[in-house]
């Protein structure tokens, strides 16, 4: 068998891309030895791989990732020698597996539960920063039929995403809700069932669905989970232990986090510019609307900064980590402080 190796100048990312493509045509037996032989070599410390960095998002490009887009547009990554590949997500995106298998250098997951359960099942991952220092997760109901506290959930029909089903069930139990009197139905990312009064409340982000609905004249009432003993960090950045152990990969990840933080600071300072970047640069083909993205960004801003103006972006304070652990433990997930590290945010 011919033995292929990474040609000089071929980065690790492009190598994987080629390898991934070849495995479509090459039979399993031929591909796997090739990958192990050269894959370890490439990850070890090839000179050409330094500047490329891939990050996988959980959702399609929008205001939730404003800081990353601004950092890219304003050249904050380039200035530090980093060539960032942003891979958008979607309803069926598999962020955790792509980070676990080192297909990307860093992932962003909307809820820390997904990372914590993967770690509980043996994945070697660490959360390296919190995009949202306060949880915007809420029960959203119509303003004329509001759900103001957990007890009022009883007897209602609620729309959830299946991904959040466990969290929803346990949250209700902790708050003394008789789950037998609640009907949970799966809705996906679409707030339409609430607007059409098919369900009484939906599980969503305070910074998201209420904004879209308000823009189209539907007024909502928002009941944040954080107000009922369930606060945690969200939109978490996470990396594999392998990335953190490899000095070159770790340095790239640190550079990415620094530039992204500066990007978010810029986005919060000049929200008009940030919305402009999202609409023109990333959402151009999706027909995003400037006004909508600006409002969405304004809505998410307090959660990014954690409310208090002095907090450092992405930084996971001991208090926030403790709160996250308490919340996740309360829904039956086993985790401890070792899941979180601020090491890429220091200095």
């Amino acid at each position: 068998m011919t033995h292929f190796c990474t040609p000089p100048g071929m980065g690790r990312r492009s190598f994987l891309r080629v390898a991934g493509r070849s495995s479509a045509v090459v039979a399993a037996g031929a591909t796997v030895p090739w990958l192990t032989a050269c894959g370890t070599n490439a990850a070890g410390g090839d000179g050409g791989a330094k500047g490329r960095f891939a990050v996988k998002l959980a959702w399609i490009p929008n205001a939730e990732y404003a800081g990353i887009f601004v950092a890219d547009e304003d050249g904050l990554y380039k200035k530090r020698g980093l060539n960032v590949d942003v891979l958008p997500g979607g309803p069926n995106s598999a962020v955790v597996p792509m980070v676990t298998t080192n297909r990307v250098d860093l992932g962003v997951e909307a809820i820390p539960e997904n990372v914590a359960t993967a770690v509980a099942r043996g994945a070697k991952l660490k959360i390296v920063g919190a995009g949202l220092l306060k949880s915007p997760e809420s029960w959203i109901s119509l303003a004329d039929r509001p759900v103001r506290n957990p007890k009022e959930i009883e007897g209602k029909k609620l729309g959830i995403t299946l991904a959040g089903k466990n969290t929803a069930l346990v949250f209700m139990k902790r708050n003394g809700v008789d789950v037998g009197k609640v009907r949970l139905v799966p809705i996906q990312f679409d707030p339409a069932p609430l607007a059409a009064r098919e369900v009484d409340a939906i599980w969503g982000f305070a910074s998201n669905q209420p904004v879209s609905l308000a823009l189209r004249g539907v007024q909502t009432h928002v009941m944040p989970l954080a107000d009922f003993g369930f606060n945690r960090m969200q939109s978490v950045f996470f990396a594999s232990q392998k990335t953190l152990d490899d000095p070159a990969a770790r340095e790239r990840a640190r550079t990415f986090m620094t530039a992204s933080r500066l990007g978010w600071e810029a986005a919060l300072r000049d929200q008009r510019h940030a919305a402009d970047v999202i609409v023109k640069g990333y959402g151009a083909k999706l027909g995003l609307k400037l006004d909508e993205q600006a409002r969405s960004l304004a809505a998410i801003a307090p959660y990014v900064s954690g409310g208090a103006g002095s907090a450092r972006l992405f930084w996971m304070s001991d208090a926030l980590i403790k709160e996250t652990i308490t919340s996740l433990t309360s829904i039956g997930i086993k985790l401890d402080e070792s899941l979180f590290t601020n090491e890429l945010l220091e200095g």
Partner: protein
């Protein structure tokens, strides 16, 4: 063609469009107000969005086309292989059933870590067409007129001459039908692929529009998607006629009946033994295929689990899955109760879809006007992602068994309708003339000619629809009810509980293959009675 005839041809589809527009206008004024925008609003939005459709549709159609070519190429190649080696037909069909039955929730992470760019979309588009095209091609190649074969043989022709001169030309109509069915399926497959992540494409645009509660825009996208699917569906026969002009004459002679490969035995002992061997073989095949799949993808062990991990998992029963009651449950009973629910959902949906499609095929055959009215609707139903239509469907039909049944019927109706209608059309003209000459009524035409003639196609459609309805039931459970395997596997995947997911994959594959065998046995029995 004179002006009146042309008007007669064009009028029904136009009237359908007009009727649909009227119904739409009425709905937008009624109780569905917030989910059904008035047609004028949607048209205005579509005008504003005009230059946004082109780049997004280009991306999606490029993936769909590549998947379409690959999937159909593979299916046709496999079908051709069954000619010199009839014994492999069952094996190939089983592999294709496996391909269609693989749940997206288990496949998505594998595709994500193995492939970049739009390749996952291309693969999902190909996966969506392989099975139906294979069945259509095998049906066409097998369903030849026995006298023609005898004539070629008597004239000293070899098996190869029979294939070239009789089987291939005879397969064209059925194959074209298969390729037509595949067109909307490939587009839908590509869109589902885009749901795994992307920055452009019709699927991504649809997610954006729905998430932002931009209802007129979401409707505009659904209309554009349906139009593209309809154009592909309608253009295919024209394209074939242009490339292969001789296929225009599809008349066969009276007395023609398919020669069917395969052996049949009447001795119950032998039959029982064969069934047992087949069951064990199927089980072994599932385990082997499953294990190979885990090996193929580099790094696949992170997201795919082989029997060696899954069996102990279900034996020891450690899980974090929470069931509807809010309590954690042992995985094995949970898996089995989910499976039973899925099978029940699929069964009901399958029966309703089958009855509706056959009834519709008969009506459409007797009154061609009805076909021209119905086809646009069924193409639209087949090509719009259910995710996009779900909020409206839930509002109209709830989220119980009615909604599930409708969703499954929508997904299985179209292939059955196309296949059966095609077979009814292929009834030899001489036979029709004969019955007319002896003064037979319409009912006799139906019972003596159409139904017996369409039976092989109908049974082939059952073979297609049974595994499809299991997949469709899982989609319905994921989107509408939140019960059954479709839902519990999704929850397990978000918890990285891949042991449960792959346990689910194994039982779904097994159930689909058993359903397929059942349909095959039914086919054998029915056709041998007929002979």
């Amino acid at each position: 063609m004179n002006a009146v005839a042309r008007l007669r041809r064009v009028a029904p589809p136009l009237l359908t469009v007009a009727a649909l527009l009227a119904a739409w206008q009425v709905m937008s004024l009624g109780g569905f107000g917030s989910l059904v925008p008035p047609p004028a609003d949607v048209l205005a939005q579509m005008r504003d969005d005009a230059d946004y459709y082109v780049p997004n549709a280009t991306v999606t159609m490029s993936s769909a086309l590549r998947g379409y070519l690959w999937g159909n190429g593979v299916a046709i190649a496999l079908a051709l292989c069954t000619l010199p080696f009839p014994r492999v037909q069952a094996l190939f069909e089983r592999i294709a059933v496996g391909a269609i039955a693989l749940p997206l929730i288990a496949v998505a992470p594998l595709l994500a870590i193995a492939f970049r760019g739009d390749l996952p979309s291309v693969i999902l588009a190909a996966q969506a067409v392989v099975f139906t095209t294979l069945v259509a091609a095998v049906l066409g190649l097998g369903g030849v007129d026995r006298t023609s074969v005898d004539v070629v043989r008597a004239a000293g022709g070899s098996e190869w001459t029979v294939i070239r001169k009789v089987r291939l030309p005879a397969a064209i109509p059925s194959l074209v039908g298969g390729l037509q069915i595949a067109a909307p399926a490939a587009i839908l497959g590509a869109i589902i692929g885009e749901y795994m992540g992307g920055s452009e494409g019709l699927g991504v645009a649809m997610i954006q529009a729905q998430g932002a509660f931009d209802v007129p825009r979401a409707w505009g996208l659904a209309i554009v998607t349906s139009l593209l699917a309809a154009v592909a569906f309608l253009a295919l026969p024209l394209l074939v006629r242009l490339l292969l002009p001789w296929t225009r004459v599809t008349d066969t002679v009276l007395g023609a009946r398919a020669t069917r490969p395969g052996r049949r035995t009447t001795r119950p002992g032998t039959r029982a033994l064969r069934t047992a061997i087949a069951a064990v073989g199927t089980l072994a095949g599932v385990v082997l295929g499953w294990w190979l799949l885990v090996l193929i993808v580099p790094g696949g062990a992170e997201v795919a689990r082989g029997p060696r991990e899954v069996v102990p998992y279900f034996a020891t029963g450690d899980t974090q899955l929470v069931t509807a009651s809010g309590e954690a449950e042992a995985p094995l009973p949970y898996l089995l109760s989910s499976l039973l629910r899925t099978i029940a959902d699929a069964g009901v949906g399958f029966l309703v879809g089958l009855v509706l499609a056959v009834a519709m095929a008969v009506v459409a055959h007797e009154f061609p006007v009805i076909e021209r009215v119905l086809m646009p609707i069924s193409i639209a139903l087949r090509s719009i992602p259910i995710v996009a239509a779900m909020p409206l469907l839930a509002l109209m039909f709830g989220r119980g068994i009615v909604a599930v049944t409708i969703l499954i019927a929508v997904m299985t109706f179209f292939p059955i309708l196309v296949n059966v209608l095609l077979a009814m059309r292929a009834v030899p003209r001489s036979a029709v003339d004969l019955l007319t000459a002896v003064g037979a009524r319409r009912r006799h035409h139906l019972t003596k000619l159409l139904i017996p003639y369409a039976l092989p196609a109908l049974l082939a459609s059952v073979k297609i629809a049974l595994p499809l309805s299991i997949g469709a039931a899982m989609v319905a459970e994921w989107l509408a009810t939140g019960h059954g395997l479709g839902a519990s596997m999704t929850v397990a995947a978000t918890l990285s509980d891949y042991d449960f997911v792959w346990g689910g994959v194994a039982v779904v594959l097994l159930a689909s293959l058993m359903a397929y065998r059942l349909a095959g046995a039914l086919e054998d029995t029915a056709l041998s009675r007929l002979e």
